[in-house]
Point group: C2
Chain length 458, copies 2
Amino acid sequence: MSKPSTPKGMRDFLPVEMAGRNHIFNTIKSTFQLFGYQPIETPAMELLSTLIGKYGDEGDKLLYKVLNSGDFLSSAIEAKANINDSRTLSKFISEKGLKYDLTVPFARFVVEHYNNLIFPFKRYQIQPVWRADRPQKGRYREFYQCDADVIGSDSLLYEYELLELTASVFRKLGIDIIIKINNRKILSGIAEIIGYSDKFTDITIAIDKLDKTSIESVSEDLLKVGLDHKSIGFIIKILSFQETDNLKKLEFIETNISGSETGLKGISELKEVLKYCAHSGQTIPVETDMTLARGLNYYTGTIIEVKANNVEIGSICGGGRYDDLTGVFGMPGMSGVGISFGADRIYDVMKMLNLFPEQITASSVVMIVNFGDEEILQLMPFANKLRQNGISTEIYPANAKLKKQFSYASDKNIEFVIVAGKDELSSGKYGLKNMRTSEQKSMSPIEIIDFIKTKISE
Amino acid sequence: MSKPSTPKGMRDFLPVEMAGRNHIFNTIKSTFQLFGYQPIETPAMELLSTLIGKYGDEGDKLLYKVLNSGDFLSSAIEAKANINDSRTLSKFISEKGLKYDLTVPFARFVVEHYNNLIFPFKRYQIQPVWRADRPQKGRYREFYQCDADVIGSDSLLYEYELLELTASVFRKLGIDIIIKINNRKILSGIAEIIGYSDKFTDITIAIDKLDKTSIESVSEDLLKVGLDHKSIGFIIKILSFQETDNLKKLEFIETNISGSETGLKGISELKEVLKYCAHSGQTIPVETDMTLARGLNYYTGTIIEVKANNVEIGSICGGGRYDDLTGVFGMPGMSGVGISFGADRIYDVMKMLNLFPEQITASSVVMIVNFGDEEILQLMPFANKLRQNGISTEIYPANAKLKKQFSYASDKNIEFVIVAGKDELSSGKYGLKNMRTSEQKSMSPIEIIDFIKTKISE
């Protein structure tokens, strides 16, 4: 029999990985909560009618479709459909798909539960999503998204709040970051000024590649799309303007796009958000960046993206303002703004920069050595006492050789081992061995609890 | 456009439900950890070769199959398969399925990662599973399982440990329970004594129904299966023996099945587990119950099931010892014991008995009233101070009418509202309104933080 395995592009997580991942998830989750975002969950599956057409043709191809139950072919045969063609057939044999992101299910959720929600509705959602993408380093077919969105308000205070929240998450994780910020209205203003508003999407797609490619290559793309040389020159001038002061940079752009009302609106929104950030009382490492475009078309205002300093990796967090997320489900005019943390990349960054705290482990803190039933029966209430004091504790399951018991504790990275045989039990002083320092002390049960409690709260 | 919705039998969870569910998940998770169980996760999808044949024919029918990507029909056409037949076709067009439980993926995990695990391996896993079952009250097509298992040891201390853990979880949740316990070896001994060892599975299936049906009906089932009247009488005598003292009950059975070595082994195992429980120093509400059989065939020793007292609902937790979970994946002889908590039923029980603590909420603790940008800019650092002290805080997003701001806070069940307009800001004393008691106080920012910290830690 061949060894069983996970499907390609999908992963098991072992305890050591889980400890690191939970550290990230718990940090993100608790920060979401500190800013008043409330948890929701949606099913792994959505109806295909909810998903299809929301992610472009490429996205549709990457949806995992679930086969209908039972005699799934019957309806295709009944309808005399061409069952030799995959595309035709799939419409008959599959009506559900696995979710591709958390945004479209959230839009569906808002429309479905509109009457039970309080607006502005602030929600967070941490769940896996699935994409039938070609697996490669750092790209998986199942991965978690960690999203926070507020819907039903166009207040720029929420842009600021999400920036504050983002800075706070990475501060807690110990990751040094820069938050790039832009406003799609400014990009829209640039397109308007050069007379190519109709090519706005093409322009943003071209600009979006600047990250991975050169100014020359972007110019070529813009030429291919049909822009003239003068317009391209104008775009390049704005994109390549170097200035470290955010406000000075915005002033330069303002003078260049003063003919576009939309563009000026974008400038003023961005200024407002920056003003809030400056008053936060904390450092929010934000940098206006006109080359930031974010491919997704639903963004209409502020857009942000987070890069980790000192490490070569794509963006680890991103988001923005959208004006019409629920319109596609028949509910227009709901403005919202959201942020999404890429847990897998954050994990990689923390691993590369060695940022996981040493005490992050999924192991017990204490193991009690097993000298036989008689001793164990006396020690069981003590094990419970340790647990009641928040100290995770296990009893070695059998009266095995001491060497074997100790190597189990050491392999599992258990910090303390309690040695209490007949003599120790009758004297009331147990041996406590610190497996990291090899130090051994003799202490009463109560002293042991106090000692370990102090140790683990350090 | 029709309103979008979730697929049938699948659910969204709104913040209020999430708060209750997270209370349950967090209690279970932290207790798992206190007993030294380590988290793992496996993908939502497994290869169908891993899943099929593990849950019986009925189970196989309930598996959700995922359509292969791209031109999924090509391999069927190439193989000249009968593409008019659902059963034949599905083998060609689907190679992955959604997981049906956590046990089979765990067995696959142990075999796949054997060399990276430390045995006895104690793991917990809290993830959703999917079954294409007919939806009905309390039965869903997507639901969470919360499992803890230890594999690689046959020590009965683990049976005890899981009983202790189970009692601890329900004690923390405030649910009054009884843990029914039995041992499949005793049932096996009964079958042996009456000379029907070959009908062991049929006998356990019949006994398993006693919960929902009568002694008469079980007798009929046993007759249908081919047992004679005398044997049925013997089974009924044992099953219906009334005795509240666990050990006396076991003695009665012991004398009745003393001819079966396996049966006596079961008795002695059960006695050993009860002895451990009696020495725990805590109350473990355990009751031996010979009518407990647990249908699943892979159990070979101790079996348990938990019922909530004072409420009519099926079992809310169950588990047992299995001797050969990984054998089906080519790794025989790995003994293990596990427990699984039914989060959905536990939620229903807590709801029915009104057991959720009042302070369980997913809302902010504090809302700061918005009197306009000038005030808000001054208050933003204070909002951050509150958050740094673990107090979840939001600023109302716009300078709306006070009434509107207050009703947002009240609708969202936010406990405190901070009122700080120009006067309050210049005096340094802010208004703090308790939305539950309607009490309003005037306090300095530092006093407010101390006051709320004390309140929420109560």
